[in-house]
């Protein structure tokens, strides 16, 4: 291995692009790719037929005058957030704004966005225009609509064609700019086109099925602001990047990303009604005591010379933590003691010089603070008044459950994978049995079990919401699959790495944390991302157990509204579209990520 690296100094190694296949002129290309042999000709004819029939069928389904697209357009808010109160809707927009800001900021911080050649962009636009033209000819439009759409398609292809023809070979454009332009066009169309205004079909007089402008009127201003906020955040991020060191910036942005979901959920969306007296009298003192005592203890424990006394103290803390369940006390205290015990046990792993020790203690203060705040926020009643069991539904609920499940199952899955590859038999057997058991049964049985039976397994005084118990069950399920993905990565770490870590005298936790896991996780990025997509897709199962997710609303709620009776298929198509766009974008993003971290190149 060393031989290779010595000769190829860093940076000089360049991966040769595959030799460009010479571009064939169109007529030859068609002959080569479509009509090279009798069988090939048959395939071409057959698949053209299939495409035409499918396209015609789909388009005449979509644009049939029996379709009630108004049911989707009018109920968009229901599909997105269920019955979130109208007068507090500002909160939802604040959440979207925070996400847009963070996205813009991260794009600047991570220097995202490659450049795309104008010619490629042009050829993409060209083919898009051609596809629009073909679809227009297939669709059962009235003649005026056909002419309008043909003009649109031809216009786009002409623009693309002129880009291909007249732009320079090496002229490029940032992908970000392209995306922003596309978004801007989409948002501009909110101002111009009356969505929910269903016309151009069959009849010559436009017929409105939905209230004209139901989509556009209420959302055009917020979306415009969102776009502007995103762009502003991007440039702000660029400005900050010049001044602050890269690492600090990245770590802080990542931290904000991790804190954003619970903060948005419990602080913004749920609008908790804090009992300030209780907070000042009980919660803050508890936090202060634990922060001070814990920080001192950890600062002492991380001394390199702490030795066995440190381990004994850590073990005692752990025992106190478990013992605290025997006597009645506040749940927050038990949680904090257990957390402190975990920090104390892992203290030798992070031992070092004074700066390291100070950082470790500060980390404890941060973690305990976040924990205290979260527990307080969860225990505070909400002021958002919504009919139904949970204050939010639709796409938001889907995203919420997916995000919380992934975040919870990540550490669980890594622990399970480590346990399964451990040399200690009892750990290994427990983890293996758990993983294989969970992987053997379908998700729906777990969800049914957790939604009906899980509250039964808790003490009488503990109450747990349906959504929370489902997230717990779903996380357990997901962690088993995640563990298998991580295990694949763990097995790819070569023996030499373990031996090298042992040779420089690392302890097992140090070896696992600093040597093995980073390499293993890097290898398992592709399966982990596809696992996340799977988790997102399978949230649709919530509809079966009766949570108001987007599928349930589309299938069981909207078709029962008196004005849109039986409009199931329209809404299901819309649900398909939403899931498809999100999953497809995620899988494309994961492919870019793979290329970026250079998987498969080393």
């Amino acid at each position: 291995m060393s031989d290779f690296n010595v000769t190829g100094a860093e940076g000089t190694v360049s991966i040769k692009p595959p030799p460009e296949t010479p571009k064939l002129p169109p007529r030859l290309w068609i002959k080569e790719n479509l009509f090279s042999s009798p069988f090939n000709i048959f395939l071409t004819v057959a698949s053209t037929g299939i495409l035409l029939i499918l396209g015609r069928g789909l388009l005449s389904f979509i644009f049939s005058h029996e379709r009630q697209w108004g049911s989707t357009a009018t109920n968009l808010r229901l599909l997105m957030t269920q019955a979130y109160p109208e007068e507090q809707y500002m909160r939802v927009w604040v959440c979207v704004g925070v996400i847009f800001t963070l996205t813009g900021l991260s794009m600047a911080v991570w220097n995202a966005g490659s450049r795309v050649a104008l010619r490629r962009l042009g050829s993409f636009l060209l083919s898009t225009g051609v596809v629009i033209d073909i679809l227009t000819l297939l669709a059962p439009f009235s003649s005026s609509a056909t002419i309008i759409w043909l003009c649109v398609g031809t216009g786009i292809s002409l623009f693309g064609g002129s880009l291909v023809k007249f732009s320079d070979e090496d002229k490029t454009m940032s992908v970000l700019t392209v995306t922003v332009i596309a978004l801007a066009v989409a948002i501009l169309s909110l101002w111009v086109v009356p969505y929910g205004h269903h016309s151009f079909v069959f009849e010559r007089t436009p017929r409105s099925l939905a209230e004209a402008g139901t989509v556009a009127l209420t959302t055009k201003l917020p979306w415009t602001i969102m776009l502007l906020i995103g762009i502003a955040a991007y440039f702000a991020g660029k400005a900050i990047r010049e001044k602050v060191s890269q690492n600090v910036l990245r770590v802080s942005v990542l931290t904000i990303w991790f804190l954003a979901p619970p903060a948005l959920l419990y602080l913004v969306l749920r609008d908790p009604d804090f009992d300030m007296g209780h907070v000042l009298n009980t919660d803050i003192p508890i936090f202060l005591v634990f922060a001070a005592v814990g920080a001192g203890l950890l600062f002492w424990l991380t001394r390199p010379t702490a030795g066995e006394l440190g381990k004994v103290i850590a073990a005692i803390t752990l025992l106190i933590g478990f013992g605290s369940f025997l006597t009645p006390m506040r749940m927050i205290i038990r949680i904090l003691i257990l957390l402190l015990a975990i920090f104390a046990i892992s203290a030798p792993t992070f031992a070092g010089d004074t700066q390291t020790r100070r950082r470790y203690s500060l980390g404890w203060i941060g973690v305990s603070g976040v924990t205290c705040w979260l527990v307080t926020a969860i225990n505070t009643p909400s002021t958002v008044e919504v009919p139904g069991s949970f204050f939010i539904g639709g796409v938001s609920l889907t995203l919420l459950i997916a995000i919380f499940t992934i975040v919870i199952s990540f550490p669980l899955g890594i622990l399970l994978a480590l346990g399964r590859t451990s040399t200690m038999p009892i750990f290994r057997i427990l983890c293996t049995w758990f993983i294989e058991f969970v992987r053997g049964i379908p998700l729906i049985t777990i969800l049914i079990f957790f939604s009906i039976m899980f509250p039964m397994f808790l003490p009488k005084e503990m109450e747990i919401g349906e959504v929370a118990s489902i997230v717990i069950g779903y996380s357990l399920f997901s962690s088993a699959y995640l563990a298998e993905n991580v295990r694949g990565g763990l097995q790819s770490v070569t023996r030499g790495q373990h031996e090298a870590a042992d040779a420089v005298g690392m302890t097992t936790p140090q070896k696992t944390l600093f040597i093995v896991l980073p390499q293993a996780l890097r290898v398992s990025i592709p399966p982990l991302v596809s696992h996340c997509i799977g988790v997102f897709k399978e949230t649709s199962l919530l509809a079966i157990i009766g949570l108001f997710d987007i599928l349930y609303i589309a299938r069981n709620v909207i078709p029962n509204q008196t004005e849109f009776l039986g409009s199931v298929r329209e809404n299901l198509l819309f649900v398909c579209l939403i899931y498809w766009i999100l999953s497809y974008q995620m899988s494309k993003a994961s492919q870019r990520l793979e290329r970026r971290v250079g998987l498969g190149e080393r």
Binding site: M456, L551, C576, S583
Partner: protein
């Protein structure tokens, strides 16, 4: 003088560290501690559940299996089951039915999709890509419900619905087509075919030997298949002469009837001891070093003791639980009696028969009768859903597997002058199959588990039936337990089969 430092360091090396620093002891203490914590937590949770259930006066026993229930299932081997256990059994059969059919069709479609993605034809390639990217990125449940919502708005049943009137119908009651079924003479015919299979084995061997010796193209597989087909056709005419085979099974049935309970017990105990000891002996042999010393770490001892304990537990189980042994005897007797009765056919019965779909009108609404092969719309929705969805994944596996065959292999095959079909059969496919099989086995597992989504469209699979049962009886925990056992055994069966193929494929390797 020089002795002193050596002996000290030896002393240091040989002395065991104190207990709290001994890594072996630390490891075991940690593990036992964790085990205790896990067990305590489980005990705490189950005791809470027991209290809570008692407070609501629900009992978690399995009585409902025998008790009558009032359930009507939409389809299955028995639409009015008389007990909870029978209802769950119908659900299991339905799940197995849709999984098996789904696996077969998903494989066929998946291979087509995978090959289409590698086609020379640009349009076919594009079409396959659209297929894969669309189906993979939409949740299966949404697809199933979408198919269902399309099927429900199809026209009502009448003899004129359908692409081929009288033969093939599509309506909002389902899809119905002619059915080929086993008739009375089938089992006698099967005997003829089995004889044919034995003959074809020898033919295969012979042709193969000639091929290996002379290199001539003797196509042994074709010959073997031809012999089986020949016997199959022959069997249609000569099968009545094999009606005496039934008496053999009759003799076996009476043998099982006369055996004492001790016989299966002894057999099972011997099997358990034999398996455990074989495993332990093989394990010890594997861990013996070249010089013949055993080097067992505590983990290995744990495995050996665990195996022995499991085998002892099984012996105790078999000895104490006489019901199981007598069940084996009884069911063996019943099985052979049933087979014997299948041979009691007088005269020349046909081995197969076929019927066209018919339409009956018991009440107000017409429906399909039982003579055709009918897919209800629930079945069709789940079936199309899982088959299309899985075909996209299997297609990707197939594509990946074929791309994984090194280009040099294909070039080498061309260089030695193999025909394209031979190169595909002997060079590319065996290597690709090795890559394709493990992930495809996983997809089969997923497909089986995904059929549980049938609950959303009302197909009576085990989850749907189980939900109905526990809604009526309140026995949620037992039903969930039965679900888990059922799905675990399905998963286990599939992975055993896939692993068996996998091991066989890997033996081909050098």
């Amino acid at each position: 003088m020089s002795d002193t430092p050596t002996s000290t360091s030896e002393k240091v090396l040989s002395a065991r560290p104190p207990l709290w620093r001994d890594i072996v002891i630390i490891k075991w203490v940690t593990q036992v501690f964790l085990l205790v914590v896990v067990l305590t937590a489980l005990w705490f949770l189950t005791s809470q559940a027991g209290d809570n259930l008692k407070a609501r006066s629900i009992s978690a026993d399995f009585n409902f299996i025998e008790r009558p229930v009032d359930i009507q299932l939409s389809e299955g081997i028995d639409t009015h089951p008389d007990s909870g256990g029978r209802a769950l059994w119908v659900g299991m059969v339905n799940t197995i039915r849709i999984s098996l059919i789904g696996i077969i069709f998903a494989t066929i479609l998946g291979v087509i999709v995978g090959l289409a993605r590698l086609s020379n034809n640009w349009l076919v390639r594009r079409l396959a890509t659209i297929w894969v990217e669309t189906l993979r990125n939409i949740p299966l449940l949404v697809q199933i419900i979408f198919f269902f919502s399309i099927l429900t708005v199809l026209p009502r049943v009448s003899l004129e619905t359908g692409p081929i009137n009288g033969w093939f119908h599509i309506s909002n009651k389902g899809i119905s087509m002619p059915r080929v079924f086993l008739a009375d003479g089938f089992y006698q015919w099967l005997v003829v075919v089995l004889i044919g299979a034995a003959v074809s084995y020898f033919v295969y061997k012979k042709r193969k030997r000639i091929h290996d010796e002379t290199g001539a193209d003797t196509s042994p597989v074709l010959w073997a298949l031809g012999v089986v087909a020949l016997f199959g056709i022959l069997g249609i005419f000569i099968h009545p002469i094999f009606s005496w085979v039934g008496s053999i099974f009759g003799a076996l049935a009476s043998l099982f009837d006369s055996l004492p309970i001790l016989a299966p017990q002894l057999l099972l105990c011997a099997l358990s001891v034999g398996l455990a000891s074989t495993w332990i002996i093989r394990f010890i042999r594997k861990n013996r070093s070249a010089r013949g010393h055993l080097s067992l770490v505590d983990d290995d001892w744990f495995r050996i003791i665990f195996t022995a304990a499991v085998s002892v537990a099984f012996i105790v189980l078999f000895v104490r639980w006489t019901g199981f042994s007598s069940w084996i005897l009884n069911s063996g007797r019943d099985l052979f009696e049933v087979i014997e009765s299948k041979f009691n056919v007088d005269g020349a019965a046909r081995p197969f028969d076929a019927m066209r779909p018919d339409i009956v009108q018991p009440g107000k609404f017409p429906n399909y009768g039982s003579s055709g092969l009918t897919m209800s719309i629930s079945f069709a929705a789940v079936f199309f859903g899982v088959v299309f969805y899985t075909s996209a994944f299997i297609g990707e596996n197939v594509r990946g597997g074929i791309l994984a065959v090194p280009k040099g292999q294909i070039e080498a095959a061309n260089a030695v002058g193999l025909k394209r079909s031979h190169a595909l059969r002997h060079i590319i496919l065996p290597q690709a199959f090795r890559v394709i099989l493990p992930p495809t086995g996983n997809q089969y597992l997923n497909l089986t588990k995904n059929t549980s989504l049938a609950i959303a469209v009302g197909y009576s699979d085990i989850v749907q039936v189980g939900t109905t049962v526990f809604n009526q009886t309140g026995k949620t925990l037992p039903v969930v337990g039965i679900w888990m056992l059922f799905y675990l055994s399905c998963s286990l069966t599939i992975s055993v089969i896939v692993n068996w193929f996998n091991v066989r494929m890997q033996l081909v390797e050098r």
